[in-house]
Symmetry: C2
Subunit: 271 residues, 2 copies
């Protein structure tokens, strides 16, 4: 699988890169179909917001061109883009002349059990809580130890994903997915102003639901809201939508709005 | 300056390393004098605690031997050790067979203005707040975006360091140092159970102060405690102790206990 650094084939990274030293950078994971990166504009716009908030200099047109060229060569699969602040050996201060570094790694499309999408998944309940850091909330940055700890909590293949709450007990997201609940016809998803990653598929689904006239609320929810929901699902830009059929000993049917949004997500992930 | 990866001279890191992908690792920065890494046991014991809490497999004897060999070749300067969980291309789940990777980078001793130690420093007041994450508190892990943001707040060379508080407003530490205050003869330093890095020099100073019969309290402090302190200083294992002579528009003299602990720290950093 191809790997590029700053537009050139490469297998390694200079040790001075601040992505390694401090997790000083951002990433995007894009589905690639028939040589095209999917939802490219949404990924680029999240990247742009991250660069602005972290004050990382980036040439977005260069990133776009490189991603498009890379994906043409990849054909089908997944392209992971990592953008770091670039080199800087010692000290936290961002070098005034830092040149951000672009890393693109290709991979094959992950293969998930077909039952995940068809019948729904069982959701693990992680004990790891997310810290509340508004300065980083929503960004897909490289400081991901919390997700590593949360994902390390379960090995049982029965669980396809895990729910994570913040330190105050609000539900936030799943380890590598965003989370939605549906109650009395209203589509609800946790606000990501304190922690969490504002996913590209989450944004697509919110926009699509609104276009269908479905009332949508982005707010604060507790575990009890989840348990009282009529439908639950998780989503990301690689697999689309997985209904949640079981969580905390309770069972849910796969509901009609989940199926509607899943069909929409499938059109997106099929390219 | 020499750089080693897994004991071999190297200038780069495989792109699949989880240190880059997730900041999934730890680091230590050691002063090196006459070919010897200083406070090696304390650095190794913090590293060991970090590995245990993050479940990173490590051969500590191998790390020790490599560091000692590296420092003999370096002579004088700074050795930065990064220990990552090793390779793993996609997904947060720690690979069951992950082999941690050891990176050692040499650098020259940083040169600070002599006035920092002699006359004390002016401390900037960072607006960036540290999130509270007990699972990571105290560790010198690779998720350091908060420090990058805090350090990016000031360019004015007048400030040698910056104070950081947690999101609840407690004082925690400085950007690359720990913080102490002295009030009525009691040495006080913030508890690092919610956030912050438990520094090697901080531990040395606490132990030494206790051996001198100085009462020491590790607790929760607010900005007002800092402003009401008789003496303030910051410390780390490279520069030792810097008195704080100015913060938030107020001035402090360099006090006697600060000088005592500074002299002790100098013996440590001089090797």
């Amino acid at each position: 699988m191809p790997h590029w650094v700053d537009g050139q084939p490469a297998e390694s990274l200079p040790l001075e890169d601040r992505g390694l030293a401090y997790g000083d950078g951002l990433f995007e994971t894009l589905a690639v179909r028939h040589g095209q990166p999917l939802q490219l504009e949404r990924h680029l716009s999240r990247l742009a917001e991250g660069c602005e908030r972290l004050a990382i200099a980036v040439d977005l047109e260069q990133v776009r061109e490189e991603l498009e060229l890379f994906c043409r060569q990849l054909g089908d699969g997944v392209a992971k883009l990592i953008l770091t602040r670039g080199d800087g050996l010692r000290g936290y201060a961002p070098p005034s002349l830092a040149r951000s570094r672009r890393i693109i790694m290709g991979a094959s499309q992950p293969i998930y059990p077909v039952g995940n999408a068809q019948d729904g998944i069982e959701l693990y309940e992680c004990r790891t809580r997310l810290a509340e850091q508004p300065l980083l909330a929503g960004l897909k940055h490289l400081n991901r130890l919390e997700q590593v700890l949360a994902r390390a909590e379960w090995q049982d293949m029965r669980y396809a994903e895990g729910l994570v709450c913040d330190v105050s007990g609000r539900i936030v997201e799943a380890v590598f997915s965003n989370l939605f609940l549906i109650r009395e016809g209203v589509l609800q998803t946790p606000a990501l102003t304190r922690c969490g990653v504002a996913g590209v598929m989450r944004a697509e689904l919110l926009e699509h639901a609104e276009s269908l006239g479905v009332p949508c609320v982005v707010g604060d929810y507790e575990r009890a809201d989840l348990l009282g929901a009529d439908e639950i699902f998780v989503c990301n830009s690689l697999y689309g939508v997985w209904p949640v059929r079981r969580f905390a000993g309770r069972d849910w049917p796969v509901g009609p709005l989940t199926r509607t949004l899943q069909a929409f997500a499938r059109r997106l992930t099929d390219g």
